[in-house]
Subunit: 338 residues, 2 copies
DNA sequence: GCAACTTTTGGGAACGCTCCCATAATTGGG
DNA sequence: CCCAATTATGGGAGCGTTCCCAAAAGTTGC
């Protein structure tokens, strides 16, 4: 690496002490206006770049937060990151980002990267494989604040940002009932994710409210590996008493299901209506377009970052049970209404 | 932040010098096997975490590379990042990621973040607005290696990773000609992006090869703002002699065009065939599914990172004119063949 | 014209680490 | 059994900052 200009160089050039230079550069008011100008000009002239490692070493602050997400392929997590990064940057914080390919080992490795980088706080959504949370507890021991979003660990007493999955699912299913559906299947997520459970509960509540019997036979929790959807759909459609509607845990699942239904030449929504969850970019574009629940994606990231910064600055308690729930919106398209 | 365990703590506990501890932790071989074990065990027991700021300060190495991408919404750039990050991690490098929302000012700001973080190398794809490259030249002055990918600055003598846009476009257009199309429009990208020019050239070459006259009237360069596509398509379709096919600069453009064509109740591909470029996730799912050119996305990131690491280690020359060109693949779907 | 301030500057320790140089411990050959 | 060679350890400077404390310079009032 090429030679780095230091405050010492500036000091020497101006024949003053490095303390004074440092004072100028840190915005300390106890310095003459004239010398301030001189230092600033010289810094610019020499193309001075502050050495953050030296700074972080003495201040014991890294000015960095971390974000760990399970995947990067759907646009959901990248959009959350944009939201979080925007807020962090405004507060002068750097962000380091890691994605886990939905893999538990990678997640643990990423946590260690975060630890090594001495982040001051962490925003996390876990992989669908994650059942053990010890790697998270290290952060609690070290008193590094954490904020969960989306896929949260409910047992940990840290703030969380979620959308109202229960309510969203409830409205999705109620919508199906309102268009006249009587037998609504549910492709659910793995039950280690609380998000799956909350959506399932919303589904169940809507059925109960409208006195529709719950049939375990048409509620299928699965591991979100899309190649499985075809199997489950074939199963559902070949039942003696097949469902007339499907509520899918998320849009990719719903889209996959739509393909299967189309292949079988069933009419959508007459024979089979479908609702997804998350309003992915693709959902408006496919044919038929997908009715779904949209969530304020970027807002999730912003809220998580705001919360994290408050934790870092001790404006709220580290293990507060704070849960920020953002609202969802039902978007009706052609997979339920022609 | 809570108290941090240092090598001094380990040394004190074991009654040895911090030099010896440091030797163990850096893998220096001049240390007794027995003390090595003791130090390692104690480090684990105390939950020792190396302070990278101190380390970076003395070694003058940040062990970090940067990646700057124009956007995060389509899955293209996130996938490239996965590829690059995987390679970097294998070499023991951290990665810091920044996205620019296709905004030039944000890009410049992100470059400064990279500078402040003393990255050892940078992988970049510029925004569609970027016409001035001074912010990149600072890196050259500081001898920090850069690798471009996808959207490159052709005037800069740094290694680049691209796909064979010319060839891809050529084959896309030749495919349209082979299915019998005679008047092929092109929705092109802004001409400051070399990627647009290369695809345009491939388009022109295919027409020339098959003796199809070039008509400037149906070649429309635009700024990639999707809301404009509708206007251009309406224009094209209302020409006295409208085109019978469209080659779009990328998949989002093609998908948008498909919507307009469908709204007008034209038959696809009979009245109007469409080919895109990039094989986005959505392209296989829409109706009709989109014929497109696929690129080895993750491989692009991997190649860029490999190149960058070689530059950092001085295994290749910094301003070599090295251009790695990866091959593309034509994926035929229903937007051109029923 | 001097004490008592206030404002501005300088000196230097400290942050946690690496790495050079010197010293101590161990080994082995004659 | 001693000296040289080898191996293992310790001491301490230095990386570029920040920040405390003290010193210097400038200001004020009587």
């Amino acid at each position: 690496m090429s030679y780095q200009v230091t405050i010492k160089d500036i000091a020497k050039k101006l024949n003053i002490s490095k303390s004074t230079v440092s004072r100028v550069l840190t915005g300390n008011p106890h310095v003459n206006e004239n010398t301030r100008r001189l230092v600033l000009d010289m810094a610019k002239e020499l193309d001075y770049q502050k050495n953050i490692f030296a700074r972080n070493l003495v201040t014991h602050k890294s000015n960095t937060i971390g974000i760990i997400v399970p995947e990067f392929v759907t646009s959901f997590f990248p959009k959350v990151i944009i939201g979080a990064q925007t807020i962090a940057a405004k507060a002068g914080y750097n962000t380091i980002i890691a994605q886990c390919n939905e893999n538990y080992e990678t997640e643990v490795a990423n946590f260690n990267v975060m630890l090594a980088n001495q982040i001051e706080g962490l925003i996390v959504s876990v992989t669908k494989e994650t059942r053990n949370f010890d790697h998270l507890k290290i952060f609690q021991r070290k008193e590094i604040p954490i904020v969960f979003f989306n896929r949260v660990c409910e047992d940990m007493d840290v703030p969380k940002v979620v959308v109202d999955d229960y309510d969203g699912a409830f409205r999705a299913v109620e919508h199906l009932i309102e268009i006249g559906k009587k037998r609504i299947a549910h492709l659910a997520g793995p039950d280690n994710l609380s998000i799956s459970r909350r959506r399932l509960n919303g589904y169940l509540a809507a059925l109960r409210k409208h006195n529709i019997p719950v049939d375990e036979e048409i509620i299928i929790p699965y591991d979100l590996r899309l190649d499985k959807v075809k199997i489950y759909m074939n199963y559902l459609l070949s039942l003696p008493n097949p469902p007339d509607a499907l509520f899918a845990i998320n849009d990719p699942t719903a889209i996959e299901a739509l393909q299967v239904i189309k292949e079988k030449n069933l009419r959508i929504p007459e024979d089979m209506a479908v609702v997804g969850f998350s309003n992915d970019y693709t959902s408006a574009l496919i044919d038929p377009s997908l009715t779904t629940i949209s969530q304020p994606v970027q807002k999730i990231g912003e809220t998580a970052a705001e919360l994290l910064l408050q934790l870092i600055n001790n404006e709220i308690s580290k293990n507060s049970l704070l849960i920020k729930t953002l609202t969802t919106e039902l978007i009706i398209r052609h997979s339920t209404v022609r």
